[in-house]
Protein backbone atom coordinates (compact mmCIF):
# COMPACT_ATOMS: atom_id res chain seq x y z
CA UNK A 1 0.00 0.00 0.00
CA UNK A 2 1.26 3.51 -0.72
CA UNK A 3 2.08 5.81 2.17
CA UNK A 4 0.46 9.20 1.96
CA UNK A 5 0.23 12.34 4.00
CA UNK A 6 -3.30 13.66 4.56
CA UNK A 7 -2.89 16.12 1.66
CA UNK A 8 -1.47 13.40 -0.60
CA UNK A 9 -4.37 11.11 0.26
CA UNK A 10 -6.88 13.80 -0.71
CA UNK A 11 -4.89 14.39 -3.88
CA UNK A 12 -5.01 10.67 -4.69
CA UNK A 13 -8.80 10.69 -4.28
CA UNK A 14 -9.11 13.69 -6.59
CA UNK A 15 -6.86 12.02 -9.13
CA UNK A 16 -8.97 8.88 -9.04
CA UNK A 17 -12.33 10.64 -9.52
CA UNK A 18 -10.95 12.82 -12.29
CA UNK A 19 -9.64 9.69 -13.93
CA UNK A 20 -12.73 7.53 -13.44
CA UNK A 21 -15.57 10.04 -13.77
CA UNK A 22 -15.40 12.11 -16.97
CA UNK A 23 -18.06 14.53 -15.65
CA UNK A 24 -15.85 15.75 -12.81
CA UNK A 25 -14.33 19.22 -12.88
CA UNK A 26 -11.96 20.57 -10.26
CA UNK A 27 -11.60 24.29 -9.73
CA UNK A 28 -11.20 27.16 -7.33
CA UNK A 29 -8.78 29.89 -6.33
CA UNK A 30 -5.21 28.77 -7.13
CA UNK A 31 -6.40 25.18 -7.49
CA UNK A 32 -5.18 24.60 -11.04
CA UNK A 33 -1.66 25.57 -12.04
CA UNK A 34 -0.42 26.37 -8.51
CA UNK A 35 -1.96 23.12 -7.19
CA UNK A 36 -3.78 24.75 -4.28
CA UNK A 37 -2.36 26.90 -1.48
CA UNK A 38 -2.17 23.78 0.67
CA UNK A 39 -0.88 21.68 -2.21
CA UNK A 40 -3.85 19.32 -2.26
CA UNK A 41 -4.47 19.55 -6.00
CA UNK A 42 -0.80 19.43 -6.98
CA UNK A 43 -0.11 17.96 -10.39
CA UNK A 44 -3.75 17.48 -11.35
CA UNK A 45 -3.92 20.32 -13.87
CA UNK A 46 -0.92 18.82 -15.60
CA UNK A 47 -2.64 15.46 -15.93
CA UNK A 48 -6.22 16.52 -16.58
CA UNK A 49 -5.74 19.78 -18.46
CA UNK A 50 -8.67 22.17 -18.59
CA UNK A 51 -10.84 20.04 -16.32
CA UNK A 52 -8.71 21.42 -13.49
CA UNK A 53 -8.51 25.20 -13.49
CA UNK A 54 -8.02 28.44 -11.60
CA UNK A 55 -10.74 30.98 -10.99
CA UNK A 56 -11.05 34.61 -10.00
CA UNK A 57 -11.25 35.29 -6.25
CA UNK A 58 -15.04 35.11 -6.34
CA UNK A 59 -16.60 32.65 -3.93
CA UNK A 60 -20.18 33.35 -5.04
CA UNK A 61 -19.24 32.64 -8.63
CA UNK A 62 -17.25 29.55 -7.71
CA UNK A 63 -19.98 28.01 -5.59
CA UNK A 64 -22.88 29.18 -7.75
CA UNK A 65 -21.27 28.03 -10.97
CA UNK A 66 -20.65 24.65 -9.37
CA UNK A 67 -24.36 24.43 -8.53
CA UNK A 68 -25.28 25.42 -12.08
CA UNK A 69 -22.79 23.03 -13.68
CA UNK A 70 -24.03 20.22 -11.44
CA UNK A 71 -27.60 20.93 -12.54
CA UNK A 72 -26.39 20.33 -16.09
CA UNK A 73 -24.74 16.97 -15.62
CA UNK A 74 -21.25 17.82 -14.41
CA UNK A 75 -19.86 16.70 -11.05
CA UNK A 76 -17.88 19.75 -10.02
CA UNK A 77 -15.47 19.66 -7.11
CA UNK A 78 -14.67 23.15 -5.91
CA UNK A 79 -12.41 24.41 -3.19
CA UNK A 80 -13.20 27.14 -0.71
CA UNK A 81 -9.69 27.90 0.42
CA UNK A 82 -10.56 28.58 4.08
CA UNK A 83 -14.01 27.80 5.47
CA UNK A 84 -14.24 31.39 6.74
CA UNK A 85 -14.45 32.40 3.06
CA UNK A 86 -17.70 30.46 2.71
CA UNK A 87 -19.35 33.32 4.53
CA UNK A 88 -19.01 35.74 1.62
CA UNK A 89 -21.03 33.35 -0.51
CA UNK A 90 -23.22 31.38 1.86
CA UNK A 91 -26.24 32.20 -0.31
CA UNK A 92 -25.03 29.86 -3.01
CA UNK A 93 -24.80 26.99 -0.55
CA UNK A 94 -27.75 27.54 1.76
CA UNK A 95 -30.26 29.19 -0.58
CA UNK A 96 -29.20 27.62 -3.83
CA UNK A 97 -27.44 24.23 -3.64
CA UNK A 98 -29.54 22.92 -0.76
CA UNK A 99 -32.81 23.79 -2.51
CA UNK A 100 -32.20 22.46 -6.00
CA UNK A 101 -33.52 18.95 -5.56
CA UNK A 102 -36.22 19.59 -2.98
CA UNK A 103 -37.94 22.63 -4.44
CA UNK A 104 -37.86 21.22 -7.97
CA UNK A 105 -39.67 18.14 -6.64
CA UNK A 106 -36.70 16.00 -7.61
CA UNK A 107 -36.58 17.09 -11.25
CA UNK A 108 -33.23 18.86 -10.83
CA UNK A 109 -30.20 17.77 -8.83
CA UNK A 110 -26.94 19.36 -7.78
CA UNK A 111 -24.27 16.71 -7.22
CA UNK A 112 -21.37 18.97 -6.33
CA UNK A 113 -18.58 18.56 -3.83
CA UNK A 114 -17.14 21.47 -1.90
CA UNK A 115 -13.75 20.92 -0.28
CA UNK A 116 -12.64 23.30 2.39
CA UNK A 117 -10.45 23.32 5.47
CA UNK A 118 -10.88 24.93 8.85
CA UNK A 119 -9.56 25.04 12.40
CA UNK A 120 -6.88 26.92 14.19
CA UNK A 121 -3.17 26.68 13.51
CA UNK A 122 -0.48 28.75 15.21
CA UNK A 123 -0.65 32.38 14.15
CA UNK A 124 -3.81 32.04 12.11
CA UNK A 125 -5.98 35.08 12.59
CA UNK A 126 -9.61 35.25 13.67
CA UNK A 127 -10.85 35.12 10.09
CA UNK A 128 -8.87 31.97 9.34
CA UNK A 129 -9.66 29.92 12.42
CA UNK A 130 -13.37 29.33 12.64
CA UNK A 131 -15.05 25.94 12.74
CA UNK A 132 -18.29 26.32 10.87
CA UNK A 133 -19.72 22.81 10.48
CA UNK A 134 -22.83 23.71 12.49
CA UNK A 135 -23.79 26.30 9.86
CA UNK A 136 -24.07 23.58 7.26
CA UNK A 137 -25.63 21.02 9.58
CA UNK A 138 -28.41 23.51 10.21
CA UNK A 139 -29.20 23.41 6.49
CA UNK A 140 -31.29 20.44 5.33
CA UNK A 141 -30.23 19.27 1.89
CA UNK A 142 -26.47 19.33 2.42
CA UNK A 143 -24.21 16.41 3.24
CA UNK A 144 -21.24 17.11 5.51
CA UNK A 145 -18.19 15.07 6.47
CA UNK A 146 -14.95 15.76 8.33
CA UNK A 147 -12.04 13.37 7.80
CA UNK A 148 -9.15 13.33 10.26
CA UNK A 149 -6.99 10.44 9.04
CA UNK A 150 -5.10 9.84 5.82
CA UNK A 151 -7.40 6.94 4.96
CA UNK A 152 -10.53 9.00 5.52
CA UNK A 153 -9.09 11.95 3.62
CA UNK A 154 -9.16 9.54 0.71
CA UNK A 155 -12.31 7.54 1.39
CA UNK A 156 -14.63 10.37 2.37
CA UNK A 157 -13.66 12.59 -0.54
CA UNK A 158 -14.22 9.68 -2.90
CA UNK A 159 -17.64 8.98 -1.37
CA UNK A 160 -18.52 12.69 -1.49
CA UNK A 161 -17.83 12.98 -5.20
CA UNK A 162 -19.92 9.88 -5.86
CA UNK A 163 -22.77 11.25 -3.73
CA UNK A 164 -25.66 12.75 -5.70
CA UNK A 165 -26.30 15.46 -3.09
CA UNK A 166 -24.34 18.67 -2.53
CA UNK A 167 -21.62 17.53 -0.15
CA UNK A 168 -19.17 19.53 1.92
CA UNK A 169 -15.88 17.90 2.87
CA UNK A 170 -14.27 19.82 5.72
CA UNK A 171 -10.60 19.09 6.15
CA UNK A 172 -8.22 20.61 8.70
CA UNK A 173 -5.03 22.27 7.60
CA UNK A 174 -3.05 21.13 10.66
CA UNK A 175 -3.38 17.63 9.25
CA UNK A 176 -2.28 18.20 5.66
CA UNK A 177 1.46 17.81 5.91
CA UNK A 178 1.83 15.56 8.93
CA UNK A 179 2.98 11.97 9.03
CA UNK A 180 2.42 9.60 6.17
CA UNK A 181 0.40 6.46 6.63
CA UNK A 182 -0.53 3.51 4.48
CA UNK A 183 -3.71 4.21 2.57
CA UNK A 184 -5.77 1.49 0.98
CA UNK A 185 -6.65 2.86 -2.44
CA UNK A 186 -8.05 -0.12 -4.26
CA UNK A 187 -11.22 -0.46 -2.23
CA UNK A 188 -14.52 0.30 -3.87
CA UNK A 189 -16.32 3.51 -3.09
CA UNK A 190 -17.82 3.44 0.39
CA UNK A 191 -21.39 4.61 0.93
CA UNK A 192 -21.83 7.91 2.72
CA UNK A 193 -22.53 7.76 6.45
CA UNK A 194 -21.24 5.59 9.24
CA UNK A 195 -18.66 6.27 11.91
CA UNK A 196 -15.23 5.13 13.08
CA UNK A 197 -15.05 3.37 16.42
CA UNK A 198 -11.54 4.43 17.35
CA UNK A 199 -11.57 2.88 20.79
CA UNK A 200 -13.85 0.47 22.63
CA UNK A 201 -14.80 0.66 26.30
CA UNK A 202 -17.63 0.47 28.80
CA UNK A 203 -17.35 3.46 31.10
CA UNK A 204 -18.39 6.28 28.79
CA UNK A 205 -19.08 7.21 25.18
CA UNK A 206 -16.95 9.97 23.76
CA UNK A 207 -18.17 11.44 20.47
CA UNK A 208 -15.87 13.61 18.40
CA UNK A 209 -15.16 14.74 14.86
CA UNK A 210 -12.44 16.52 12.95
CA UNK A 211 -8.82 17.10 13.91
CA UNK A 212 -9.54 17.30 17.63
CA UNK A 213 -10.27 13.56 17.51
CA UNK A 214 -6.51 13.02 17.64
CA UNK A 215 -6.38 14.86 20.98
CA UNK A 216 -9.36 12.86 22.20
CA UNK A 217 -7.65 9.59 21.37
CA UNK A 218 -4.48 10.65 23.15
CA UNK A 219 -6.55 11.82 26.12
CA UNK A 220 -8.55 8.58 26.29
CA UNK A 221 -5.68 6.14 25.77
CA UNK A 222 -5.76 4.84 29.34
CA UNK A 223 -9.53 4.96 29.76
CA UNK A 224 -12.16 2.27 29.35
CA UNK A 225 -14.31 4.30 26.98
CA UNK A 226 -15.89 4.12 23.54
CA UNK A 227 -14.44 6.78 21.26
CA UNK A 228 -16.71 7.30 18.27
CA UNK A 229 -15.42 9.52 15.52
CA UNK A 230 -18.47 10.63 13.57
CA UNK A 231 -16.73 11.37 10.30
CA UNK A 232 -20.10 11.89 8.63
CA UNK A 233 -22.10 14.60 10.36
CA UNK A 234 -24.92 14.43 7.81
CA UNK A 235 -26.01 11.67 7.64
CA UNK A 236 -25.20 11.34 11.33
CA UNK A 237 -24.93 7.81 12.75
CA UNK A 238 -27.59 8.32 15.41
CA UNK A 239 -28.36 4.64 15.96
CA UNK A 240 -24.74 3.70 16.65
CA UNK A 241 -24.19 6.67 18.95
CA UNK A 242 -27.38 6.04 20.90
CA UNK A 243 -26.58 2.32 21.20
CA UNK A 244 -23.19 3.10 22.65
CA UNK A 245 -24.60 5.60 25.15
CA UNK A 246 -27.32 3.14 26.16
CA UNK A 247 -24.55 0.72 27.07
CA UNK A 248 -22.11 3.10 28.77
CA UNK A 249 -24.69 5.56 30.14
CA UNK A 250 -22.12 8.32 30.19
CA UNK A 251 -21.56 10.79 27.38
CA UNK A 252 -18.96 13.34 26.39
CA UNK A 253 -18.94 15.31 23.14
CA UNK A 254 -15.76 17.03 22.04
CA UNK A 255 -15.53 19.51 19.17
CA UNK A 256 -13.29 22.37 18.20
CA UNK A 257 -16.19 24.60 17.18
CA UNK A 258 -17.77 27.12 19.55
CA UNK A 259 -20.01 25.78 22.27
CA UNK A 260 -23.24 27.73 21.75
CA UNK A 261 -25.27 26.26 18.93
CA UNK A 262 -22.52 23.78 18.20
CA UNK A 263 -23.44 20.30 16.99
CA UNK A 264 -22.45 18.85 20.37
CA UNK A 265 -25.63 20.36 21.77
CA UNK A 266 -27.60 18.38 19.19
CA UNK A 267 -25.90 15.11 20.14
CA UNK A 268 -26.68 15.58 23.82
CA UNK A 269 -30.24 16.62 23.08
CA UNK A 270 -30.90 13.54 20.96
CA UNK A 271 -29.60 11.31 23.75
CA UNK A 272 -31.96 13.07 26.14
CA UNK A 273 -34.86 12.77 23.68
CA UNK A 274 -34.17 9.05 23.32
CA UNK A 275 -34.87 8.72 27.05
CA UNK A 276 -31.47 7.29 27.85
CA UNK A 277 -30.89 7.64 31.57
CA UNK A 278 -27.33 8.79 32.19
CA UNK A 279 -25.44 8.00 35.36
CA UNK A 280 -23.60 11.33 35.17
CA UNK A 281 -24.45 14.67 33.55
CA UNK A 282 -23.26 14.82 29.93
CA UNK A 283 -20.02 16.66 29.23
CA UNK A 284 -19.53 19.10 26.38
CA UNK A 285 -15.99 20.18 25.51
CA UNK A 286 -15.78 22.92 22.91
CA UNK A 287 -14.20 26.25 22.26
CA UNK A 288 -15.70 28.82 24.61
CA UNK A 289 -17.76 31.48 22.85
CA UNK A 290 -14.86 33.69 21.92
CA UNK A 291 -13.25 35.08 18.81
CA UNK A 292 -9.95 33.37 18.02
CA UNK A 293 -6.88 35.39 18.96
CA UNK A 294 -3.84 35.27 16.68
CA UNK A 295 -1.07 34.79 19.26
CA UNK A 296 -0.45 31.05 19.58
CA UNK A 297 -0.32 31.23 23.35
CA UNK A 298 -3.72 32.91 23.44
CA UNK A 299 -5.30 30.58 20.89
CA UNK A 300 -4.05 27.60 22.87
CA UNK A 301 -5.96 28.90 25.85
CA UNK A 302 -9.19 28.81 23.86
CA UNK A 303 -9.22 25.44 22.13
CA UNK A 304 -9.58 22.37 24.39
CA UNK A 305 -6.18 20.72 24.82
CA UNK A 306 -5.35 17.09 25.45
CA UNK A 307 -4.87 17.55 29.20
CA UNK A 308 -8.24 19.22 29.61
CA UNK A 309 -9.94 16.54 27.56
CA UNK A 310 -8.14 13.78 29.49
CA UNK A 311 -9.18 15.22 32.83
CA UNK A 312 -12.78 15.55 31.70
CA UNK A 313 -12.95 12.00 30.38
CA UNK A 314 -11.27 10.53 33.46
CA UNK A 315 -13.68 12.41 35.69
CA UNK A 316 -16.71 11.40 33.65
CA UNK A 317 -15.73 7.73 33.60
CA UNK A 318 -15.77 7.55 37.41
CA UNK A 319 -18.79 9.69 38.16
CA UNK A 320 -22.29 8.59 39.13
Amino acid sequence: MPKYSFAEAANAALRRVLDEIPETLLYGEDVGVPGGVHGVSKGLHKTFGDRVFDTPISESAILGSAVGAAMFGRRPIVEIMWSDFFLVALDQVVNQAANVRYVSNGTMTAPLTIRTQQGNSPGAVAQHSQNLEAFFLHTPGLRVCMPSTQQDAYDLLLAAVHCDDPTIVIENRTLYHGAKAEVEINEGVQPIGGLRRRRTGDKATVVSWGAITHKVLEAAKDEDVDVLETVWLNPFPWDEVLDSVRRTRRLAVVHEANRTGGFGAEVITRVAEAGIELTAPPVRLAAPDLRLPAAPVLAAAVIPDTATIAAAIADLATRG
Binding site: T55, S60, L63, S65, V67, F72, R74, D91, M108, G141
Partner: protein, 314 residues
Amino acid sequence: MSTLLDDLHQMWRSRLLEEKIRDLRLAGEIQGSVHLSIGQEAGPVGACSVLGPDDALFATYRGHNWAVARGVPVEGILAELLGRETGVNGGRGGSAYFSDVAHGFHGENSIVGAGAPLAVGAALAGKYDGSNRVALTVFGDGAMNQGAVHESMNFAAALDLPVIFVCENNGWSELTPIDDMVRNPILAERARAYGMLGERIDGNDPAVVRDRVGDAIEAAREGGGPALLELMTQRLVGHYIGDAEQYRRPGELEAAKEKEPIAVAKRKLAAAGVPQNQIDDAEARAREEIDAAAATAQAAPLADPSTVKEHLYA
Protein backbone atom coordinates in the same frame (compact mmCIF):
# COMPACT_ATOMS: atom_id res chain seq x y z
CA MET B 1 -46.42 41.94 -39.39
CA SER B 2 -47.23 38.30 -38.77
CA THR B 3 -44.28 38.10 -36.37
CA LEU B 4 -45.52 41.09 -34.44
CA LEU B 5 -49.00 39.58 -34.34
CA ASP B 6 -47.50 36.37 -32.90
CA ASP B 7 -45.50 38.41 -30.44
CA LEU B 8 -48.64 40.25 -29.40
CA HIS B 9 -50.36 36.95 -28.75
CA GLN B 10 -47.43 35.74 -26.67
CA MET B 11 -47.36 38.99 -24.72
CA TRP B 12 -51.10 38.70 -24.05
CA ARG B 13 -50.56 35.18 -22.69
CA SER B 14 -48.15 36.63 -20.10
CA ARG B 15 -50.29 39.67 -19.39
CA LEU B 16 -53.49 37.72 -18.91
CA LEU B 17 -51.77 35.01 -16.89
CA GLU B 18 -50.48 37.64 -14.51
CA GLU B 19 -53.85 39.38 -14.33
CA LYS B 20 -55.37 36.02 -13.46
CA ILE B 21 -52.69 35.45 -10.84
CA ARG B 22 -53.42 38.90 -9.40
CA ASP B 23 -57.14 38.14 -9.19
CA LEU B 24 -56.53 34.78 -7.55
CA ARG B 25 -54.15 36.40 -5.09
CA LEU B 26 -56.60 39.15 -4.21
CA ALA B 27 -59.31 36.51 -3.78
CA GLY B 28 -57.05 34.68 -1.35
CA GLU B 29 -56.80 31.55 -3.47
CA ILE B 30 -53.11 32.17 -4.04
CA GLN B 31 -51.28 33.07 -0.86
CA GLY B 32 -48.02 34.78 -0.07
CA SER B 33 -45.97 37.34 -1.92
CA VAL B 34 -46.45 37.60 -5.67
CA HIS B 35 -44.34 39.82 -7.91
CA LEU B 36 -45.86 40.69 -11.24
CA SER B 37 -44.13 42.00 -14.34
CA ILE B 38 -47.10 43.54 -16.11
CA GLY B 39 -45.66 45.93 -18.69
CA GLN B 40 -42.44 43.95 -19.15
CA GLU B 41 -43.66 41.25 -21.55
CA ALA B 42 -41.61 42.16 -24.63
CA GLY B 43 -38.23 41.11 -23.22
CA PRO B 44 -39.10 37.51 -22.45
CA VAL B 45 -41.03 37.05 -25.70
CA GLY B 46 -38.15 38.39 -27.79
CA ALA B 47 -35.33 36.70 -25.89
CA CYS B 48 -36.89 33.27 -25.47
CA SER B 49 -37.63 33.08 -29.19
CA VAL B 50 -33.89 32.86 -29.86
CA LEU B 51 -33.04 30.35 -27.14
CA GLY B 52 -32.56 26.76 -28.23
CA PRO B 53 -33.92 23.72 -26.36
CA ASP B 54 -30.52 22.96 -24.78
CA ASP B 55 -29.97 26.52 -23.63
CA ALA B 56 -30.36 27.42 -19.99
CA LEU B 57 -32.61 30.14 -18.60
CA PHE B 58 -32.38 31.41 -15.04
CA ALA B 59 -34.86 34.08 -14.00
CA THR B 60 -35.72 36.10 -10.92
CA TYR B 61 -38.70 36.02 -8.59
CA ARG B 62 -40.46 38.26 -11.14
CA GLY B 63 -40.28 35.40 -13.58
CA HIS B 64 -43.76 34.25 -14.56
CA ASN B 65 -43.47 35.89 -17.98
CA TRP B 66 -40.07 34.32 -18.65
CA ALA B 67 -41.49 30.90 -17.84
CA VAL B 68 -44.44 31.40 -20.17
CA ALA B 69 -42.21 32.66 -22.95
CA ARG B 70 -39.94 29.64 -22.47
CA GLY B 71 -42.89 27.34 -23.06
CA VAL B 72 -43.84 26.33 -19.54
CA PRO B 73 -47.55 25.40 -19.63
CA VAL B 74 -49.66 28.09 -17.97
CA GLU B 75 -51.74 25.47 -16.23
CA GLY B 76 -48.64 24.13 -14.49
CA ILE B 77 -47.70 27.65 -13.39
CA LEU B 78 -51.16 28.42 -12.05
CA ALA B 79 -51.37 25.07 -10.27
CA GLU B 80 -47.97 25.72 -8.71
CA LEU B 81 -49.06 29.09 -7.37
CA LEU B 82 -52.31 27.57 -6.12
CA GLY B 83 -50.37 24.92 -4.18
CA ARG B 84 -51.71 22.08 -6.25
CA GLU B 85 -50.23 18.62 -6.82
CA THR B 86 -50.17 19.36 -10.57
CA GLY B 87 -48.02 22.44 -10.15
CA VAL B 88 -44.71 22.41 -12.00
CA ASN B 89 -42.96 21.65 -8.70
CA GLY B 90 -45.89 20.03 -6.92
CA GLY B 91 -46.27 23.13 -4.79
CA ARG B 92 -42.70 23.30 -3.49
CA GLY B 93 -41.67 26.27 -5.61
CA GLY B 94 -44.45 28.85 -5.47
CA SER B 95 -44.70 32.15 -7.29
CA ALA B 96 -41.18 33.35 -6.60
CA TYR B 97 -39.15 30.16 -6.90
CA PHE B 98 -40.54 27.69 -9.40
CA SER B 99 -38.78 25.84 -12.18
CA ASP B 100 -39.72 23.52 -15.02
CA VAL B 101 -36.68 21.72 -16.28
CA ALA B 102 -38.75 19.77 -18.82
CA HIS B 103 -39.32 23.06 -20.64
CA GLY B 104 -35.83 24.46 -20.24
CA PHE B 105 -36.81 26.82 -17.44
CA HIS B 106 -34.17 26.33 -14.79
CA GLY B 107 -35.82 28.40 -12.21
CA GLU B 108 -36.72 31.68 -10.75
CA ASN B 109 -34.78 32.86 -7.76
CA SER B 110 -36.08 34.84 -4.84
CA ILE B 111 -32.58 36.03 -3.93
CA VAL B 112 -31.80 39.15 -5.97
CA GLY B 113 -29.07 38.39 -8.50
CA ALA B 114 -28.44 34.83 -7.34
CA GLY B 115 -29.30 33.24 -10.67
CA ALA B 116 -26.25 34.75 -12.33
CA PRO B 117 -23.66 32.37 -10.83
CA LEU B 118 -25.94 29.42 -11.65
CA ALA B 119 -26.09 30.52 -15.28
CA VAL B 120 -22.30 30.72 -15.34
CA GLY B 121 -22.28 27.08 -14.22
CA ALA B 122 -24.73 26.03 -16.92
CA ALA B 123 -22.49 27.65 -19.52
CA LEU B 124 -19.43 26.07 -17.93
CA ALA B 125 -21.05 22.63 -18.18
CA GLY B 126 -21.65 23.30 -21.86
CA LYS B 127 -17.94 23.76 -22.39
CA TYR B 128 -17.43 20.10 -21.49
CA ASP B 129 -20.60 18.32 -22.63
CA GLY B 130 -20.55 19.21 -26.30
CA SER B 131 -23.97 20.87 -26.19
CA ASN B 132 -22.79 24.29 -27.31
CA ARG B 133 -25.21 25.61 -24.69
CA VAL B 134 -25.70 29.28 -24.02
CA ALA B 135 -27.00 30.37 -20.63
CA LEU B 136 -29.22 33.38 -20.21
CA THR B 137 -29.79 34.93 -16.82
CA VAL B 138 -32.27 37.72 -16.29
CA PHE B 139 -32.45 40.08 -13.36
CA GLY B 140 -33.64 43.58 -12.55
CA ASP B 141 -31.77 46.86 -12.34
CA GLY B 142 -31.53 46.49 -8.56
CA ALA B 143 -29.56 43.26 -8.97
CA MET B 144 -26.88 45.15 -10.86
CA ASN B 145 -25.64 46.24 -7.44
CA GLN B 146 -25.33 42.69 -6.12
CA GLY B 147 -21.83 41.29 -5.72
CA ALA B 148 -22.77 37.88 -7.10
CA VAL B 149 -23.76 39.47 -10.42
CA HIS B 150 -20.40 41.23 -10.73
CA GLU B 151 -18.51 38.10 -9.77
CA SER B 152 -20.46 36.23 -12.42
CA MET B 153 -19.83 38.77 -15.16
CA ASN B 154 -16.11 38.78 -14.50
CA PHE B 155 -15.95 35.00 -14.09
CA ALA B 156 -17.78 34.44 -17.38
CA ALA B 157 -15.62 37.02 -19.14
CA ALA B 158 -12.36 35.64 -17.77
CA LEU B 159 -13.28 32.13 -18.89
CA ASP B 160 -14.96 33.19 -22.19
CA LEU B 161 -18.18 31.50 -21.17
CA PRO B 162 -21.34 31.94 -23.25
CA VAL B 163 -23.54 33.73 -20.72
CA ILE B 164 -26.05 36.39 -21.70
CA PHE B 165 -26.74 38.71 -18.79
CA VAL B 166 -30.10 40.38 -19.34
CA CYS B 167 -30.92 43.30 -17.08
CA GLU B 168 -34.57 44.31 -17.20
CA ASN B 169 -34.32 47.94 -16.21
CA ASN B 170 -37.79 48.96 -15.10
CA GLY B 171 -36.42 51.89 -13.13
CA TRP B 172 -37.24 50.45 -9.74
CA SER B 173 -35.05 48.51 -7.37
CA GLU B 174 -38.05 47.08 -5.53
CA LEU B 175 -39.45 50.32 -4.02
CA THR B 176 -36.47 52.60 -4.70
CA PRO B 177 -35.61 54.40 -7.94
CA ILE B 178 -32.45 52.99 -9.54
CA ASP B 179 -31.28 56.53 -10.34
CA ASP B 180 -30.90 57.22 -6.63
CA MET B 181 -28.82 54.08 -6.12
CA VAL B 182 -26.20 54.51 -8.84
CA ARG B 183 -24.08 57.38 -10.06
CA ASN B 184 -24.07 56.26 -13.67
CA PRO B 185 -27.63 55.32 -14.65
CA ILE B 186 -26.54 53.59 -17.86
CA LEU B 187 -26.03 50.16 -16.38
CA ALA B 188 -24.92 48.53 -19.64
CA GLU B 189 -21.73 50.60 -19.49
CA ARG B 190 -20.49 48.41 -16.67
CA ALA B 191 -19.92 45.62 -19.19
CA ARG B 192 -16.94 47.45 -20.63
CA ALA B 193 -15.15 47.11 -17.31
CA TYR B 194 -15.36 43.35 -17.68
CA GLY B 195 -14.28 43.32 -21.29
CA MET B 196 -17.59 42.29 -22.71
CA LEU B 197 -20.30 43.68 -24.92
CA GLY B 198 -22.76 45.94 -23.15
CA GLU B 199 -25.81 47.44 -24.81
CA ARG B 200 -28.84 49.37 -23.67
CA ILE B 201 -31.77 48.49 -25.89
CA ASP B 202 -35.52 49.08 -26.20
CA GLY B 203 -36.98 46.41 -23.97
CA ASN B 204 -40.52 47.17 -25.09
CA ASP B 205 -40.03 45.97 -28.62
CA PRO B 206 -39.86 42.17 -28.95
CA ALA B 207 -38.24 42.46 -32.39
CA VAL B 208 -35.39 44.59 -31.04
CA VAL B 209 -34.86 42.22 -28.14
CA ARG B 210 -34.95 39.20 -30.48
CA ASP B 211 -32.43 40.83 -32.75
CA ARG B 212 -29.94 42.04 -30.14
CA VAL B 213 -30.18 39.02 -27.84
CA GLY B 214 -29.98 36.81 -30.92
CA ASP B 215 -26.74 38.48 -31.99
CA ALA B 216 -25.29 38.17 -28.49
CA ILE B 217 -26.21 34.49 -28.36
CA GLU B 218 -24.69 33.84 -31.74
CA ALA B 219 -21.46 35.60 -30.79
CA ALA B 220 -21.30 33.76 -27.47
CA ARG B 221 -21.85 30.40 -29.15
CA GLU B 222 -18.95 31.13 -31.45
CA GLY B 223 -16.64 31.73 -28.50
CA GLY B 224 -17.09 35.46 -28.15
CA GLY B 225 -17.85 35.23 -24.45
CA PRO B 226 -20.57 36.87 -22.39
CA ALA B 227 -22.64 39.98 -23.01
CA LEU B 228 -24.77 42.33 -20.95
CA LEU B 229 -27.99 43.65 -22.43
CA GLU B 230 -29.94 46.30 -20.58
CA LEU B 231 -33.59 46.15 -21.59
CA MET B 232 -35.32 49.45 -20.91
CA THR B 233 -38.86 48.73 -19.80
CA GLN B 234 -41.40 49.60 -17.13
CA ARG B 235 -43.42 47.91 -14.46
CA LEU B 236 -47.06 49.00 -14.53
CA VAL B 237 -47.78 47.43 -11.16
CA GLY B 238 -46.19 47.44 -7.72
CA HIS B 239 -43.15 45.49 -6.60
CA TYR B 240 -45.56 43.01 -5.01
CA ILE B 241 -49.31 42.71 -4.78
CA GLY B 242 -50.30 45.07 -2.00
CA ASP B 243 -47.50 47.54 -2.68
CA ALA B 244 -49.04 51.01 -2.15
CA GLU B 245 -46.65 52.42 -4.79
CA GLN B 246 -46.30 55.75 -2.99
CA TYR B 247 -42.89 56.06 -4.55
CA ARG B 248 -44.31 56.65 -8.02
CA ARG B 249 -43.47 60.04 -9.49
CA PRO B 250 -46.28 62.26 -10.87
CA GLY B 251 -47.15 61.36 -14.46
CA GLU B 252 -44.79 58.39 -14.52
CA LEU B 253 -47.41 55.68 -14.72
CA GLU B 254 -49.35 57.50 -17.46
CA ALA B 255 -46.17 57.83 -19.54
CA ALA B 256 -45.33 54.19 -18.92
CA LYS B 257 -48.72 53.09 -20.20
CA GLU B 258 -48.00 54.85 -23.50
CA LYS B 259 -44.73 52.94 -23.88
CA GLU B 260 -45.75 49.51 -22.65
CA PRO B 261 -45.28 46.78 -25.22
CA ILE B 262 -48.85 45.60 -25.76
CA ALA B 263 -50.13 49.14 -26.41
CA VAL B 264 -47.20 49.80 -28.74
CA ALA B 265 -47.68 46.54 -30.66
CA LYS B 266 -51.39 47.19 -31.10
CA ARG B 267 -50.72 50.68 -32.44
CA LYS B 268 -48.06 49.40 -34.83
CA LEU B 269 -50.28 46.63 -36.17
CA ALA B 270 -53.19 48.99 -36.71
CA ALA B 271 -50.92 51.51 -38.44
CA ALA B 272 -49.66 48.73 -40.72
CA GLY B 273 -53.23 47.97 -41.75
CA VAL B 274 -53.66 44.68 -39.92
CA PRO B 275 -57.41 44.15 -39.51
CA GLN B 276 -58.71 44.94 -36.03
CA ASN B 277 -60.33 41.52 -35.66
CA GLN B 278 -56.91 39.86 -36.03
CA ILE B 279 -55.43 42.17 -33.42
CA ASP B 280 -58.31 41.46 -31.07
CA ASP B 281 -58.05 37.74 -31.74
CA ALA B 282 -54.50 37.65 -30.33
CA GLU B 283 -55.97 38.69 -26.99
CA ALA B 284 -59.09 36.55 -27.22
CA ARG B 285 -57.15 33.33 -27.86
CA ALA B 286 -54.87 34.03 -24.94
CA ARG B 287 -57.79 34.81 -22.65
CA GLU B 288 -59.50 31.56 -23.56
CA GLU B 289 -56.32 29.59 -22.83
CA ILE B 290 -55.70 31.27 -19.46
CA ASP B 291 -59.30 30.93 -18.30
CA ALA B 292 -59.35 27.23 -19.17
CA ALA B 293 -55.97 26.63 -17.53
CA ALA B 294 -57.08 28.41 -14.36
CA ALA B 295 -60.25 26.33 -14.15
CA THR B 296 -58.26 23.11 -14.55
CA ALA B 297 -55.64 24.19 -12.02
CA GLN B 298 -58.28 25.18 -9.48
CA ALA B 299 -59.97 21.80 -9.86
CA ALA B 300 -56.72 19.90 -9.26
CA PRO B 301 -56.06 18.29 -5.87
CA LEU B 302 -54.00 20.18 -3.32
CA ALA B 303 -50.40 19.07 -2.91
CA ASP B 304 -50.22 15.95 -0.74
CA PRO B 305 -48.68 16.58 2.70
CA SER B 306 -47.71 12.91 2.97
CA THR B 307 -45.05 13.57 0.32
CA VAL B 308 -43.53 16.60 2.05
CA LYS B 309 -40.35 14.79 3.11
CA GLU B 310 -39.61 13.47 -0.36
CA HIS B 311 -36.80 14.72 -2.61
CA LEU B 312 -34.59 16.33 0.00
CA TYR B 313 -31.78 13.88 -0.68
CA ALA B 314 -30.97 11.46 -3.46
